[in-house]
Symmetry: C2
Subunit: 416 residues, 2 copies
């Protein structure tokens, strides 16, 4: 039995000039990993026939499965289908299933006339196997050559995902796949190098088959153990043993031992305790509420928020005293505590988060530089406030502050 | 004079298992484009010495500049520096500037003791030119071989950006670079294929040197014209002529003729008119406020928001009548109009946006399926409401709804 490797090729000029961020590759990589196919490489190239052929040549030497996204749209800049047709020495034919699908989409769903360019999307090379696209007009295509499998899908994430969901069982049938097992711990409140020193002894003694990675993001660090093996039970046992050891070592900083986000962990905690939450946000401008409500079912514990960007809203909706704002400023312990108090009185939730700070790039003062943030969390019975200092861009300052606020709330609830 | 091409190689196992999304490549590509270097290819590989050497071999044949990020951290899984040292046949030496920087960072900024692993970050191959990292402990490194330039930078976006900002002037000195000119139009309210038909004649007559791309995102489509040339003035003139023609053709759907986001366009409009705005959000959970406040300086026109996830908050803070909620439901024209009315009375802004809908994956009913959303925009004098139907994942439904709400608001303001 051998390991099966995949390369992901994403096609589109927009990927090379930085106009869009490639989210497809990550999602595809996750899905492939789950069924035991390791992604060895990811490649992005432009809508250029020569570059496509060269990438296909190079990557089919290194990988067993080549996943290709992009360049299947109805417009003239999309040439992937034509290039693949030529590369695999086929000729274009109309696919009846794809034609029906295009007609159905336009007539029934979009309620628009079907145009000639859309009808052309139902044409495919006669050397491929078609996977119908239920979410759009460009069908997926499977090609085979020299024992390698090439799968072409649209670049629109929602359409690609629909097609890949059908491709995964197909790939499982084609190969005998090992189990790839990842175990992750999300930590907060400790930096990457401090973590590394804390677990240096553990890392040194780790069996060679198990890889440890440090993944810093949003001001948190995720630790990941990875291994693979054809005997799932034995493989699982080895990694579980190591994981239990690691868990003990870092438990002081652990948010969760599952591969889940801070907002999911906080949501589960609130659900378990049957408690509700709300937020009062100034500098984060709704980002904390957005994180909380990104979780399906969050309406069970999230009541709402007051985003108070101006002094007027802080005073009128949250009841912050004008005197407090004038004496201590909007970014102060006194103000966030009054924001939190006002929030809990107005929204009547069990817990609340209040944040006020300066996210930049402008607005700093000598004693309150850009990045100064006050966070308060608590309940009507007890409130705590903490000052933090961010050192990043506006966007990243907002992200990291939001996650830190959720973590502070999480720890507060656990201590009650 | 010849075109100069770059390849971006990002290194890290996390890029291949889908645990993080690669935002670095997009940013780097944008910066390179601006100085006239075209990115030909992007490659992601794991923390694996053999894969790195192979990627360096392949890419240095195709590109003039090879930008490498990742694998420079202090932990054992980071091996990029060692691999580069061996690849370029150097040996590790302590760099005094990097050492000073590490000491300064830990002693003055982080206020933590400097550890042995951190000190090791000040070691670099003796065959490279060092670019000091003012935002972290891993220095940047420039290698040269066979007329090609290799630049290694940390994978942490904020640190990479700091180093690349110093690399760009260096690259400009090394090459005689052409002007690469992009012109973009952001459209909303029309699909990709309908747009393509509308401008089919224009596209057919476009000079070969100018490329047209359709970039759908967030339910909008961006049209981009691209060309390049060593004579900047002549090149600019050719593309400007075509761009003016394109602008006329799609002006009915145009949000902006600059490369800027919907939230930036709306912000400028409010600033110009000296008007203020607020939002009342249910299903978007703060995502609209987040978009508005992602723009630096938004505090000049954004007052705040009321996120009303529950009936109680809709009633108590926004004054939605209990009768309205019971009779028409939270997702109804009546409710969003009352939300908007309550918002404008409470926050006293010139304009307001109110949204209520069902984002999924659950919560739909036969007459209000998942994806049903009501949006209201307006002022105290005039309000309009519109029903839309989303067809995506929870995350994407929230994204697209938020952008559509901002666009509806923008159009409303333009009509006043």
């Amino acid at each position: 039995m051998k390991n099966i490797y995949a390369t992901i090729i994403t096609i589109g000029d927009e990927l090379l000039i930085g106009q869009v961020i490639d989210t497809n590759s990550s999602w595809m990589a996750q899905q492939l990993n789950q069924i035991g196919i390791a992604v060895k490489k990811r490649v992005s190239i432009g809508d250029n026939a020569e570059d496509m052929r060269r990438a296909l040549d190079i990557e089919s030497k290194e990988a067993d499965v080549i996943l290709i996204t992009g360049g299947l749209g109805p417009t003239a800049d999309d040439i992937t289908k034509e290039v693949l047709c030529e590369y695999f020495e086929g000729k274009m034919v109309l696919n009846e299933g794809a034609l029906e699908n295009v007609k159905y989409l336009f007539e029934t769903i979009y309620k628009k006339p079907v145009s000639k360019v859309n009808l052309a999307q139902a044409e495919v090379p006669d050397v491929c196997e078609v996977i119908q696209n239920k979410r759009g007009s460009a069908p997926g295509m499977i090609f085979k050559r020299g024992g390698k499998i090439f799968i072409s899908m649209p670049g629109v994430p929602y359409e690609m995902q629909g097609i890949l969901n059908e491709v995964l069982p197909y790939l499982k049938e084609q190969f005998s796949l090992p189990a790839i097992i990842h175990k992750t711990i999300l930590t907060a409140g400790i930096g990457e190098s401090a973590l590394a020193e804390m677990i240096a002894g553990f890392e040194k003694n780790l069996p060679e088959k198990i890889k440890l990675a440090y993944l810093p993001n949003y001001g948190m660090v995720r630790l990941r153990l990875t291994t693979s093996g054809f005997d799932r039970i034995a493989t699982q046992k080895v990694i579980d043993g190591q994981f239990n050891e690691l868990k003990e070592l870092v438990k002081k900083y652990t948010v969760t031992n599952e591969d889940e986000t801070m907002q999911v962990v906080l949501g589960k905690l609130l659900l378990n305790k049957n408690k509700t939450i709300s937020t009062a946000e100034s500098c984060t401008g709704g980002a904390i509420a957005s994180l909380i409500t990104s979780v399906p079912g969050s309406s069970s514990y999230f009541e709402g928020s007051i985003i108070s960007y101006s002094y007027a809203v802080k005073e009128n909706l949250l009841g912050v005293k004008n005197e407090t704002l004038n004496k201590f400023g909007a970014v102060s312990e006194e103000t966030v505590l009054e924001m939190l108090n006002g929030l809990l009185n107005k929204l009547n939730t069990d817990y609340g988060i209040a944040v006020s700070g300066i996210m930049g790039p402008d607005g700093g003062t000598p004693d309150r530089p850009v990045g100064t943030v006050w966070i308060a969390v608590g309940s009507k019975e007890k409130m705590i406030a903490q000052k933090i200092q961010q050192r990043f861009s506006r966007h990243k300052n907002i992200e990291v502050t939001s996650t830190m606020a959720l973590n502070l709330m999480r720890k507060f609830i656990l201590e009650q």
